[in-house]
Structures are given as C-alpha cells and as structure tokens.
C-alpha cells in the first residue's frame, strides 16, 4: 500500500462505491438488530407480565413459554444464516473489490502532492 495523503480515507469514505457498501451493511444490520432485540424483549416482557398466556398448554406438557423460548433459538439461527448469505452476496464482493483497488493505489489523489510518511 502506498503512503497516504492526509485526506485519503475521507475521499474513499465519500466515494460512491464505499457509500454503497456502508449503506448495504447498515441497511441489513440495523433493522435486523432492532428486530431481534424487540422480539427478545417481547419474550422477556411476556415472561414477566403475561404468565397466564405463557403457561397456556398447547399439547401434552408443552406450553407457550417453552415454544416461545425455542422460537428464540430458531430465529437466532435463522438471522445468523440470513446474515451469512447476505454478507456473502452483497458485502464481500464489494469489500474485496474496494480493498484491491485501495491497495493498488487507485484512490491516491493525483492532483495532490503525496506526503511521504515513514
């Protein structure tokens, strides 16, 4: 990697390619975090305040609380899998491409004199 002009990273950060990558990441992780946190909070709040509902028997000795708890496992596995798939398809190719181009010096400004930092 070549040496950096002081504003090199700012230029990269403002480039359309990088903005796209940042947007793609945030578009997935922020809503998903809010979703799983609310879903988990709902479970904890129901455990505290909706005991009759949680204790309702579905079949045999299996009640709503157990199924609700097991569903937290299911959603955790599901979200992990969805994220892995999303990152593989939408994030990794862009990040790798940007990495290669940055390392190759594509974003080093040509109009500015390069400052050599030891």
């Amino acid at each position: 990697m070549s040496t950096d002009a002081p504003d090199r990273y700012e230029r990269i950060a403002e480039s359309p390619e990088f903005s796209g990558l940042r947007r793609a990441l945030r578009r997935f992780v922020f809503p998903m975090t809010i979703a799983f946190f609310s879903w988990y909070a709902l479970y904890v709040i129901l455990s505290a305040y909706a005991r009759d509902f949680m204790g309702r028997i579905l079949f045999g000795n299996i009640n709503v609380a157990l199924i609700f708890g097991l569903l937290q496992f299911v959603t955790t596995f599901l979200i992990a899998w969805l994220y892995a798939r999303y990152a593989d398809r939408k994030l990794d190719p862009v990040a790798e491409d940007l990495n290669t181009r940055i390392t190759a010096g594509e974003f080093d400004a040509d109009e500015q004199p390069k400052e050599v930092v030891a």
């Binding site: 990697m1 002081p6 504003d7 990273y9 700012e10 990269i12 950060a13 403002e14 990088f18 990558l21 940042r22 990441l25 997935f28 992780v29 998903m32 975090t33 799983f36 946190f37 988990y40 909070a41 479970y43 904890v44 709040i45 455990s47 505290a48 305040y49 005991r51 949680m54 204790g55 028997i57 079949f59 045999g60 000795n61 299996i62 009640n63 609380a65 157990l66 708890g69 097991l70 937290q72 496992f73 955790t76 596995f77 979200i79 992990a80 994220y83 892995a84 990152a87 990794d92 990040a95 940007l98 990495n99 940055i102 390392t103």
Partner: protein, 547 residues
C-alpha cells in the same frame, strides 16, 4: 476404581494432554501476534469451537442446569439470553473489530481517540470485568471439588479437610491457568478451549441422549415427570418461580421483581459483545470473513449446547429430584454431575456405571472451568501489557520481545491476585459475580464499542465517559443492592445499607453508559477527528491495512 479416583485420573489425563499442547504451542510462539492472537492463523471453525470453549463457563454448564433443576423454566431464560446475545456480536461487532484492531478491545476504542485516556479506561474495564468473571469461575471450582470428590465437612482427602481442599483446588486451578497463558499464549489457550469445547459437547450430548432415552424420546413426558417430581406442578414449566415473583399484597416488591427480570434479560443479551476475553478471540483468525465464520460456528455450537441444558436441567429434576440436589448443594450447582451418576447407574450398569459417568462429567466440569479462566487471564494480561505498558507508559516505543515478556509477567501477577482474591471470596455467590461481569461489560464496554464504530462525532471524552459512567454505575448499584446487604442471601446478611431494590443493575446502568457516552461527546471541547473516523470506517469495512 472409585468415582473419585477415576475423576482424578481423567482430569490428570486432560491436564497432561493440554500441557503437552501448551508446550508445543510455546515453540510456535515467537512474535507478539503469536502470543496475543495465536498468529491469526486459526480457521473459522477452530475459532468457533474455541469461542464456545471460552464462553460456556461453569455458570452455563453447572449453573443453568442447576437453576432449571430447582426452579424449572426460569433457568431457560439464561440459556436464551446467552445465545441471542451472539447476534449483537455477529451483526455489529465481530468483523469490524477484527479489521480495525490488533490485540485488545482498546485497540478499537482508541483508534481515533487520544491514546492514553481511552486505553487506561478500557484497560481498567477489561480487568474489572475479567476479575469478576475469573473469581466466579475459581470460587465455583473450589466449591465443586469438595462436592465432586465427595469431601464432606468432617471427612478428609489426602489429609485435607473440605476447607483446605477448596483452597488447594483454587491454587491448583490458578497455577494451571498461569502456566497455560504464560507458556502457551493465545495459541496454547485456544487449543485448551478447543479440547474443552469438544469434551463439553460430547459429555452434554451423551447425557441428553440418555435423559431422552429414559423417557422414550418423549419430551412432554420428561417435562411432566419433572413437574410432578418438583412438587410444584405445571408452574414448574412456566416462568416465575425464581425471577419476577409476584408477592401477594406487596405491589412495590412485585414491581421490583419484574424489573429485576427485565434487567437480567437486558444485561445477558447486551453483555456478551462487551466481554474482552470474547472480543480478543476475533483476532485469532486471518480476516473478517473468518471472524464471521467463527461467530456462525459459535452460534451453532453454543445454541446446541443451550438446547441441551433443557434436557440436563429438567432431566435432573425428574431423575434426581430437587431434594437430593439441594441436599448436596443449595445452589443446585451439582445437579448435572448428580444426573450423570443416576444416568450411569441406569444405563451403564449399577454403581460402577454411575461412578464412571459421574467421574467423566466431573472431569468435563473441571476442564470447562480451566479453559475459561485461561481465556480471562490472557485477556487481562494482554490489556495490561499492550494497552498500559506498551502504549501508555512506553508510548509505543517498545520491542515486541519486551512487550510479550511484560504480558507474561502480567499473566503471572493477575493469576496470583486472582488466586488470593478467590480464596477470600469463597463465600460469594457465583451467579452474582458472573451477572455483575455481564452488567459491567454491557454498561461500559458495549456503548463505547458501538459509538466508536458507528458514530462519527464520538470523541475521547465520550469514550471515557461511557466506560467510566457505565462501569461505576453498575458497580455502585450492585454495592447498594440486596445482593450485597440487607437480605438473607446477601454477602453481608447481617448488615443493611441497601437502597437500590434490584439485584441486577443493567436496566439502569446500561442506559446510563449510553447516555454518558452521548453527553461526554456533545459536551467535549475537542471535536471528533473526521479523518480518523473515515480511516476507521474504510479499514473496518474493507479490511484495508488489517493486521
């Protein structure tokens, strides 16, 4: 061979094998990156296993099984919180931290800040969290050994009575963890954790299959028998026997109990991604993609394990019974080993089979504790050497060799301090210490990490305010809570200075941590450095310049 002898033999085999691996690992440990980060050469799968080994502590294996066995459904709340927490690490922290940090949590927090104040704060928080957690594990080990080796008050073992045996165990575990860390560094520690994770999963799976087999693989029958045997009927399978209790005629206490449950739930789910000994595991893989893979594997492994805690806990309630468990240990920490004994008697043939199963599970429990304490010692000694010695004291002007030498000395010192503290802290409640560690991690570390990674305007003052604000609030609230004084189960049951009504501070201290970070930032005189934030963003998302 008696169960006690077999436990010791199996444990010695584990120790010999892990020591051999540690010595082998020490030959591969030459650079600072080898010592702190295992040469960054582990695969996603290996690191996933090691994360499992680092995370599934005695509190998980023995504690959760015990709470389910005695209080039924409420123990399952822990399993769920401990698992869902990994989504925070997966979505928001692991990959970005891997790309932008080097050896410690502070590397990321100090990336765009003034080094000294942020590193000092992060290091203090790392050591506080790790020491609470470390004490929990060591005190747990001391309490367990007496029970697992069958040393009852009045009885003797190798000439030691129960109290001496507890202290001897704490010292022994302490010395082993110091050896793993000082000799083997991150590589040795990682292999110990991988071996432990494997043993724990196999042991838990074996017990789960046997429990289910005892009920002809009918989960409903297992739950029914557990509920009947508990004497509490259907309520044993519902939330509410332990947490969020409704006190008839006392609306205030009922309200506090419910708040305490919410507080515990929040601390569990937000604490994990702020635990320094977990965070440094992400540096042991070559890149952010491997960091993601390791969290995915960890979620699979840890999730499977916590599902099995249902069978272990309800199995112990159904097959051992609450009375037999509390007769052995009031906290229920011996439910899993006792269940192992019953299963061995039932399926492997009589007393010999029971003794064999008990021995195996007891040895697994010791391995579990050992792997976790090694990870904690490494995290705190790395922070002392890399953050305090190399960055703050020597301002980065230090050779790799002497930094690693300091890290080894720090590991020795922290191990020694932990041994002494654990001996004095023997009467402390293990679950309380772990809950406190999670609360501090969630209140101090997590806000600082998330703001650092995602908030452009975040400043040095904001970072230190978040860490100290969250840390101090959590510790102070616990000090004035009913776990420390003013209740029969408190640390000081005969005094009462408590005014904070909850046992877990999270519901207050976590928002305080985030608020302090925000206030510290908007009130700080020096603005954030936009260039450094751009650099952090680019590096954390693309992996450019990653170590």
């Amino acid at each position: 061979m008696s169960s006690r002898t077999l436990t010791i033999v199996l444990f010695v085999v584990f120790v010999v094998i892990t020591l051999a691996i540690t010595i082998w690992a020490s030959r591969q440990t030459k650079t600072a990156a080898d010592f702190y980060a295992g040469g960054r050469s582990f695969s996603g799968f290996s690191n996933g296993l090691a994360i499992g080994g680092d995370y599934m502590s005695a509190a998980s294996f023995l504690g959760i099984a015990g709470i389910i066995a005695l209080f039924g459904y409420d123990g399952f709340l822990y399993s769920i919180g401990f698992l869902v927490a990994w989504l925070v690490a997966l979505l928001l922290v692991a990959e970005l931290l891997r790309n932008s940090g080097k050896y410690t949590m502070a590397d990321v927090l100090a990336f765009r800040m003034r080094q000294t104040p942020v590193r000092v704060a992060a290091s203090i928080s790392t050591i506080v969290v790790s020491i609470f957690y470390l004490l929990a594990q060591m005190v747990g080990a001391g309490a367990l050994v007496a029970l697992l080796l069958g040393i009852k008050p009045g009885a003797h073992f190798l000439g030691m009575d129960a109290d001496t045996a507890k202290i001897a165990t704490i010292i022994f575990i302490g010395i082993l963890m110091i050896v793993y860390v000082t000799v083997g560094g991150m590589k040795g520690t990682t292999y110990v954790q991988i071996v432990k994770a494997f043993l724990l999963m196999v042991g838990a799976a074996l017990m789960t299959v046997l429990v289910l087999a005892a009920f002809k693989f009918n989960l409903s029958d297992l739950l029914g028998e557990a509920a009947t045997k508990s004497g509490k009927g259907a309520s044993f399978l519902e939330p509410g026997l332990r947490y969020g209790k409704e006190v008839a005629g006392d609306a205030a206490q009922t309200f506090y109990n419910k708040m305490d449950l919410l507080s515990l739930g929040i601390a569990l789910v937000l604490g994990t991604a702020g635990l320094p000994h977990i965070l440094i595991r992400f540096y042991t893989v070559p890149n952010s993609k491997a960091a993601r893979k390791s969290v995915l594997w960890a979620i699979g492994i840890i999730g499977t394990f916590y599902l099995m805690t249902l069978a272990l806990g309800f199995g112990a309630a159904a097959l051992v019974g609450g009375e037999a468990i509390t007769a052995q240990d009031k906290g229920g920490n011996t439910a899993a080993p006792q269940l192992a004994q019953v299963l061995g008697e039932k399926f492997l043939g009589g007393a010999t089979g029971g003794a064999a199963m008990l021995a195996i599970i007891a040895a697994v429990a010791f391995a579990t504790i050992l792997a976790v304490v090694a990870g904690l010692t490494l995290a705190s000694s790395s922070s002392l050497a890399h953050d305090i010695y190399a960055s703050v004291i020597r301002k980065g002007q230090v050779s790799e060799g002497s930094e690693v030498r300091v890290a080894r000395i720090a590991a020795f010192a922290i191990g020694a301090v932990a041994i002494v503290l654990a001996i004095f802290a023997q009467s402390l409640n293990v679950a309380f210490l772990v809950a406190l560690a999670f609360a501090v991690a969630a209140s101090g570390n997590l806000p600082a990490i998330l703001y650092s990674l995602f908030w452009k305007r975040f400043t040095t003052a904001g970072a230190t305010a978040a860490i100290y604000g969250g840390l101090i609030t959590a510790v102070v609230l616990v000090f004035f809570s009913p776990v420390v004084s003013g209740s029969p189960t408190a640390m000081f049951p005969n005094s009462d200075w408590h005014w904070f009504p909850l046992s877990n501070p999270g519901i207050i201290s976590i928002p305080v941590g985030f608020l302090c970070g925000w206030l510290g930032t908007i009130l700080s005189r020096e603005p954030a450095d936009p260039q450094k934030y751009a650099e952090l963003e680019v590096r954390s998302l693309t992996g450019v310049g990653a170590h």
